[in-house]
């Protein structure tokens, strides 16, 4: 019995020392014993699939096709993503490719809801570089980004809304485009919010409601 006990304790110790404890770090992928149902030959996004020659499971649009999509409501008018409409391009309808015939004003009706959405998107996608105030002093300036546009620059304040749409969609100089990350409706929402930021920067103390001016002057 003594021998058995010794062997038993040794065996337990061996198992624990080889297998380790729950939650210990491991570089090896988890074991899958019967993996035939776990890993089926189906498409999963962003993973390699042998069915296609280039192995991309997330396919680009085939040429001359139009993606099915919900239309965007501009006022009451539905606009599909493939239409030549200011809300999709930032240009006046009928602008030939290459020309810069920007629309002056945001095609979406300005609502408090649109502004709130704009603030939300701005704080996700623009704030790291342009800063909460839009003055180009975001956190990344501390780590080697030197030229970041100051959105209160008079040149940018005077730009038409459509041009800012173009900058967000395709980028400009050192800023890259955000077309993949931000949908057209959200881009217009950001523009509305950027305009509000610029307005707040240009405002004078006299424009503050009378009952709050005292607090401001303190």
């Amino acid at each position: 019995m003594r021998y058995f006990l010794a062997a038993f304790v040794l065996l337990c110790l061996a198992v624990v020392s080889i297998a380790g404890f729950r939650g210990s770090l491991s570089r090896r992928p988890p074991l899958e014993l019967f993996s035939d149902m776990d890993r089926q030959p189906k498409l999963r996004p962003q993973s390699a699939n042998e069915f296609f020659a280039d192995r991309f499971s997330s396919r680009p649009h085939p040429a001359n096709t139009v993606p099915r999509a919900e239309p965007l409501l501009v006022g009451a008018q539905p606009v599909y993503p493939f239409e030549d409409h200011p809300v999709n391009t930032g240009m006046v309808a009928g602008t030939p490719p290459g020309a810069t015939n920007f629309v002056e004003l945001n095609p979406l009706p300005l609502t408090a809801e649109l502004l709130a959405r704009g603030q939300h998107i701005f704080s996700i996608h623009c704030l790291p570089c342009h800063g909460a105030a839009g003055d180009g002093k975001g956190v990344t300036t501390k780590y080697g980004m030197t030229v970041i546009g100051n959105l209160h620059d008079p040149r940018i304040v005077r730009q038409p809304d459509g041009e800012i749409f173009h900058v967000i969609t395709h980028g400009r100089n050192l800023m890259q485009g955000y077309a993949a990350a931000i949908e057209p409706r959200d881009r217009w929402a950001v523009i509305a919010y950027v305009r509000a930021l610029q307005l707040s920067h240009l405002a004078s103390a006299d424009e503050v409601p009378a009952d709050q001016q005292a607090a401001l002057r303190k």
Binding site: R22, R44, T140
Partner: protein, 217 residues
Amino acid sequence: MSDIFPKWTNKLPAYLLAAGAMMGTAVVAGVWYYFTPKYTRVGYQPIQPVSFSHHIHVEQLGMDCRYCHTGVEKSSHSNIPASTLCMNCHNQVLKEDPRLALVRESAATGKPIPWVWIHKTPDFVFFNHAVHVNRGISCVHCHGQINLMDEVQHAKPLSMAFCLDCHRNPEAFIRPPDQVFNLNWQPESQTKQLADGARLVREWRVEKLENCSACHR
């Protein structure tokens, strides 16, 4: 007879029984402890092709998860960002750094970076990010404190029991929608969490999804 079986054999049945009981207990304990995703998955931390750190980008720079994982609110799949997105900053920050060589190459050629997929449910499970994130379930419940990790590791088992623990009483987990992406948020107290959670469950008509077809289709 005593010549054939020596005296000690009288105790043999007792010994065998004791040994069998001990072996049985050890095997059961071993299976209970080891044959579970809490052991097999938790702690999985592969070496990634680029030493990307969530701690630097999220905690130090204050970036939102959705800057990179843009699809998490809209789709079932929470996408890994394209390398062109990294170049938004890294065309100026650490422009020449060798650690980012692969990112630059990938952005220039369109060849994807071979990130190792860590959290991977079996193909017969239909998981959906948007449903959870838009219902006040934070990333932290299923991925742990990603914002503090330099290298992402599998922090939660993501087993069926784990999913059901929450699906049976979502009110213990649902948080205000504006705190979903703030992984450091803690409820003020357990009672407040349960009260607020129960209110949100009522307002949003959150179902307690336990039927098999919710996740297996």
